[in-house]
């Protein structure tokens, strides 16, 4: 066991355990906080994969924006401090079976793939973040998807304001 492997196992345990808490814990606000733990551990995984920019974006966008949005939504949509009733619906056994089946199916698919135990190749020379930034603004690289994502975000912003806005006249 190398240090990296031990670190990976620790983060993987944190991710899977916290994700399990997200889907089973009864209080929604706790689920949102467990999601933050999951997102931080995933950012650590990105750092282990030498994707430093992704790790930072994970923390800024997911933890800083999406998780906070979830916490606000939880606070805006509960009548009392405690959520009453069971957290899971009547189909939970079928749902558990389906998710176990999906995990088994994914595992079988991956195990039959020839590159399943590949090791990482050496990182190329040069600044990956600068390369990524250039690719996002180069017309024959990813300028168009980048701009379409911007338009999508703007449309989602306007749509969210319109849908959540109560004051408009019917």
């Amino acid at each position: 066991m190398t240090t990296m492997q031990v670190l990976f196992l620790i983060f993987a345990a944190i991710i899977l355990g916290s994700a399990f808490m997200v889907v089973t814990t009864k209080k929604m606000i706790h689920a949102a906080f467990w999601l933050i733990v999951v997102l931080f551990a995933i950012a650590a995984l990105y750092a282990m994969l030498n994707a430093g920019f992704m790790a930072m974006v994970q923390i800024v966008v997911y933890v800083g924006a999406i998780a906070i949005l979830f916490i606000f939504a939880v606070m805006l949509t509960r009548k009392e401090l405690l959520d009453r009733g069971p957290a899971l619906n009547a189909n939970k056994s079928i749902a558990a079976l389906l998710s176990l089946l999906s995990f088994g199916g994914l595992y079988m698919l991956l195990r039959n793939w020839s590159g399943f135990s590949n090791m990482a190749p050496a990182l190329p020379e040069g600044d990956m973040v600068a390369k990524l930034g250039e690719a996002l603004v180069t017309p024959d690289a990813y300028l168009l998807p980048f701009e379409i994502a911007s338009v999508l975000l703007l449309a989602a912003l306007i749509g969210a304001v319109y849908v959540a806005n109560e004051a408009r006249s019917e």
């Binding site: 889907v23 030498n50 939504a73 189909n91 558990a96 995990f103 990482a120 959540a164 109560e166």
Partner: protein
């Protein structure tokens, strides 16, 4: 230095995806269903970054894909939570089984 085979990341990602799937299928609260979708999107992102690192780290394609997934996830969460808040204002519930106006 980096002694982790790709299979570890892929199995972790499959497990996270399955847990998210369970959350989407089994939770009653609509906000919790969105939390499950977030877990699934994160599992996808782990896969994308892993394949970028293990297949062709000289190209940035995998990371660009993951960034687009970030943007779509943010848009999806904004619209989804706005819908939930709107439903809560009109019907005073966020339980998915009570929102049955369009149920056939």
């Amino acid at each position: 230095m980096n002694s982790i085979p790709i299979s570890w990341y892929l199995i972790l990602s499959a497990g996270l995806f399955s847990i998210g799937l369970f959350g989407v299928l089994a939770r009653k609260n609509a906000v919790a269903i969105l939390l499950g979708i977030e877990l699934m999107l994160n599992a996808v992102n782990i896969n994308l970054v892993t394949f970028w690192r293990y297949n062709n780290p000289a190209e940035v394609t995998g990371q660009v894909f993951a960034i687009i997934v970030f943007a779509v996830a943010a848009a999806e969460v904004a619209v989804g939570l706005a819908l939930i808040i709107s439903i809560y204002r009109n019907r005073n519930t966020v339980m998915a089984e009570d929102i049955d106006l369009m149920k056939w």
